[in-house]
Every structure is written in C-alpha cells, then in structure tokens.
Symmetry: C2
Subunit: 352 residues, 2 copies
C-alpha cells in the first residue's frame, strides 16, 4: 500500500486574531506546544506511519513560505500551492492529481493542519485500520469522533450502530444541529462528530469525481495534462482551469452521495481548536479556573478567563470572568467567551 | 490680604494603576487634558487670583522631582517636602509653618492636586468669597459641593440651610454614608459633599492647633525654629520631630471640633476623579457609551467601557460591557467598573 498524507492548510486565520493573521494562520501558531506549531504537530503525528516524502501539504501562495519554513523535513515539492480557493472538493482533487503522479496507487489520508489529538498512538492505529478498509472495500473512510457533549458547532455522522474502532457505513451526514437535536444525537449513541479526516484510494476518489462531480473530473484531467505548469500557482492555464471549478465541499459534493462511505468511530481525544474557548480543554488552569499563557498574570476576584500575554507585560484581571484576553505586540483583544465566534466582525471593522 | 495656595500632592497612585505609580501618581498624569497634568491644571486654575510665588505644593521626596518638572513656573522653594507622611493635620501644619515665614498674615487656600473643576471662573469667585469670610469672621471655611447623586464614596457636611454661594455654619461633619442615608441627605437639600478644599487665615489655624491638637502645635513650634533645616527632608532633627506627630486628619483633628467652621455651598462642577469610572463623567463617549482614549479602538457588541490605550496598539472589545481596560507599555489592566475601587489588591499581589 502506498500510504500518503495530504494535509489541508488554508484558513484565513480570523478566529484567532490577534494571534493569527492571513499570513500566519492558526496552523502556524505555537498555540498548544511552546516548541511546535499545530501544523508541525500534525506532521510529527503521522511520521511514525508515513515517511516525510509521502506527506503533502495543500495550501495557498500567501501561506506557502511560512509552511515550508515550518516543515523543513518535507521535500519542497510536496507543498502543493492552489492558485485559487475553490473549496475542498477542488483542493482534494488537485492534491490527488499531484500525488497520483508519483504514487498512482496511493491511499490518501486527508487531515486538517490545525487539530489537536491527545492519544497519537491510537490515532495512528485508527488511520491504518481506515487505510485497510479503504483498500479492501473501495470505501471512502472517515474518522468519526465519539461525542462528549451536545456540540452545536460540528456536523454529525449518523450510523446504524457504532462501536469504537469498528468500521461501519455512514447512514447520513447531518449539518450543525440545534441544541435539542444535538442532545438527541448524543443520547442515541449512534451519531459521531464529523472530524474532517478521511481516507481513500486515489482510484476510488477519481471514480467518485466522475460519478458525482463530472465537471470537476474533467477539469482535473486537464490539469493533470499541464505537466510542470501545475506546480506554478501563477501559471495562466492553471488559473484558467481553476477558475472553472464550482465552489463545493468534498462532504457535500462527494462523500454524502458516495455509495460506500464508511466511518470508524474513534475516541483518541480530538479538539479542532475552533476558537479561543477551546483552549480551556487544552491547558492546565489556575486556581481561579483560568488559562494563563505567556505573561505574568495577577487575578483578583476573577475566574474562568483565558489570558494570553504575548508581549510579556504584567496583566491584571479584577472582577472579571469568562473573558478572552489576548495581548500581542500590535493588538489587544478583550472578548467574552460567548462571543469568541464573532472575532471576524472585528476584522471587518478594522479592514474598513 | 496675603492670599496663598497650598496644594496637597501626596497620594500613593494606587487607584489609577497601571497609569499611575508611586513615582508618578494621579496628579502627574495627563488624565483629562492631553497637554496638562492634573496638578498643572490645579495651578493654572488659581493663577488668575494668586501669583505663582504664592502657590505652594506639599509633597514627599519620591514625588517632588516630578512635580518640580511639571510646575516650572513655581519657585523651587515653594515645593515643600514632608519627611514622613503623618496625615493631613501634620501636612497642613507643616505647610503653614513654611508659608508663615514669608507671609505671616497669609490666608491659606488648601486644595487637592488632582481634582477637576468645570467652571474655573466660578471656582475662583467662590475662593475669593471664602477668603473674605475667613478673614472677616476668623472662620475656617470649606467649600461644600451641592450633591448631584446619593454618592456613598464621600463625606458630607450638614448645614441648617444651604444656598449656593452663601456662607453658612457647618452643623456637623458626616463620614461616608450608606446608600439609604445618602439618599436622605440629598433629599433634605441641607447636606453637601466635603470637597477637601478649605480656606483659613494662618493665625486662625495656629490658634485651632493650640486648642484642639496641642501636641501638634508644640511640634510645629519646634519645627519653625529649625530654620533652613526644615527645608531638608532628610534632616535628622526634622525627621525626629515629624516622627512624633500623631497620624490624624485635619477634618477629624480640627475642623469637626472648631467652633467656627463654615461652608460655602458651590456648584462649579467638581469631580475628584477618585477612580477610573469617574472618567465617564469627564469624556465624550462613543456611540456605544464608551470612553476611549489613546489607541485605535474597535467596539463590537460592546458598550459602556473605559478603554485607555497608552501603548498605541489596536484594541478590540467584543461582547463586553462596563469594563475598564488600561493598556500601558508595561502592564495591562482588565477590570469591571464595579471593582475599580479594589485596584490596590492587584498591587498587593504584585508586590508579594
């Protein structure tokens, strides 16, 4: 089996402003580990089962340089630069074209670049199981996270029955539910969080593109014929072909429709670090229940805050709770945890 | 009449941390006016009625240098440095000894260094009236602020009847009341806020010291005999005498007991800027009801905050209200307005 990894590293870096920016999005931040960025952690996590030369990154021109610097162990040509963002179906199709040139029989493991996983050994074990299922049964295999709470921020995968580590068909993909539905999903025991990690053989995916997204398939065939030009994100022909892609996600465009989408229920400790409050689950807390990183922080009559001091100054909280406070060299954010999803509204105002 | 002004400028600078420090307390901050510190505004305010050579400052060794730099128009010898802090009775007694050498028949106007007054012309008019009353009737004359709300943070002066600008005897001094009492004070129309500004002839005050604080009077007599030594805060004899002062306030030690304490009810717009939330009354507000100074501030779903950005960076608030946010080069404070009185607790922890 030619096991390969394709790490999707786009992202506009809005949800972690002011730590993150378009040039330095979440996956390039050392948000969890003092030494390693999230993307570096993602690569390190799969190195026990996949050699560096078979790990590929899908990204854009703005972020490519930062990623290359962050991942010196990867061959530079493994950093695949999309000329335009056309959602995940095009991104994965383009990735599979580039990877398929070298590894025509590759089994591709598609991963996000900015998620956190606690039990990395178990993660690798599940990936290998998924790869076998993908090979043996011609399936597209996703990893489904056993839900620990009625989260309304994730999509769900419905199954008939669901046991950790046992591959099972996906009955249906569900969009982000409201709280009531999320509670019923968790109570049923048959629903899993859609982690966005999935595994397939390139031949399986090519076939699926032809069946469900034939226009994508035709464009990908033309891109394959471009030769070296497809490695140059400013190439006019490549851009012209890319501009014709419909913007559609791989979930909606293929996986929900594919006749043989399976899921492996997993419980290796997964966190997509979707916004600042997710750090509550990552870090040890102070006696006051706060997460404190970087600066010297004094808490008086304060609790349950997330304080990230990147400028080294003293930070004092007095009589405040459930806040996110992020102090960088250039910017300061003071935000309620409940509103942390809306940081993009700040950027909209700043960009005016 | 030898009208002189004695501005008390001690203060530990705790309530405005991190803007203020022991070396740079509130009165040295340009908190209200971009060009002028509060003490400079205090001096400028009386210059129309008292020449610079008759304006004196009472302070301590730590702050004297900063004050001298801030007030180049004053003769340097007018900055009177107390060797030790022994509360206001000793401070005013010491001030009157130094001032009395040059102006033995002085009428002394005692002012705080860090208050704000809106109608400065009216203020000067009231001071002149008070000085006349002090001269003509041998009274200690205070200025009493017509209360605009049932403030529990101030002491009150009770009168028989009370009309703006009309001198009237003080019936009684009252300590900071609870809300219920404060409400009845305001409703009665006979109670005034104790502003801490008062006016007396030096001879009147000397007599009062002898009657009500005879130990202070005796120490002050000995200090008067020290000659130039009393101008050297590190002089051993001066320190020895100072160490013997009982720590007592002028209000409690003399004014409450004096047989002829009068008050002039005033309404010239007074703000003691006691803590950050007082700035709500000083500055224009944004559409969101926030006070914003210094930095570029972006407010999203936020209101009624006080944001003071001294480091020039972008500050964004998201989903927060009624906070005080102060960002300096070295420190960041995030504090609920309701707890702004407790900033000293932060300093206690920082100094541990």
């Amino acid at each position: 089996m030619q096991l390969t990894v394709f790490i999707m590293a786009g992202g506009s870096g809005e949800r972690f402003w002011p730590l993150s920016t378009r040039e330095k999005p979440k996956q390039l931040l050392k948000l969890v580990d003092k030494e390693r960025s999230l993307i570096r952690m993602t690569v390190d996590r799969v190195l026990p089962i996949v050699p560096a030369e078979r790990i590929f990154i899908g990204t854009n021109a703005i972020q490519a340089k930062g990623i290359a610097e962050e991942l010196p162990m990867l061959p530079i040509e493994n950093i695949i630069i999309e000329p335009q963002f056309k959602d995940t179906a095009a991104a994965i199709g383009f990735g599979s074209v580039v990877i398929g040139e070298k590894y025509p029989d590759a089994t591709m493991v598609v991963l996000a670049s900015d998620h956190l996983i606690k039990n990395e050994e178990n993660f690798c074990k599940r990936i290998l199981t998924a790869a076998e299922v993908a090979e043996d049964r011609g399936a597209i295999v996703t990893l489904g996270i056993k839900p620990s709470r009625p989260e309304t921020g994730y999509g769900y995968l419905e199954t008939e029955e669901c046991y950790i580590g046992e591959p099972t068909p996906v009955v249906r993909f569900w969009e982000k539910p409201n709280l009531q539905r999320a509670e019923s999903y968790v109570a049923s025991g048959r629903y899993l969080w859609n982690s966005g990690m999935f595994i397939f053989n390139i031949a399986t995916m090519n076939q699926a593109f032809e069946t469900y997204l034939p226009k994508h398939a035709a464009l990908l065939t033309q891109i394959a014929k471009l030769g070296d030009a497809k490695r140059n994100y400013s190439d006019a022909k490549l851009n012209d072909l890319f501009s014709k892609f419909e913007k559609i996600s791989i979930d909606f465009g293929i996986m929900e429709k594919f006749h043989n989408t399976m899921v492996i229920p997993v419980d290796f400790g997964w966190n997509d670090i979707g916004s600042f409050p997710a750090l509550d689950e990552v870090f040890e807390k102070t006696e006051q229940g706060s997460v404190v990183q970087g600066s010297r922080v004094v808490e008086v009559n304060s609790s349950d805050n997330i304080v990230l001091g990147m400028s080294g100054k003293v930070i004092a909280t007095l009589g405040v709770s459930d806040l996110v406070i992020v102090d960088t060299k250039d910017s300061l954010l003071v935000c309620s945890k409940a509103e942390a999803q809306n940081i993009k509204k700040i950027l909209e105002q700043l960009n005016k």
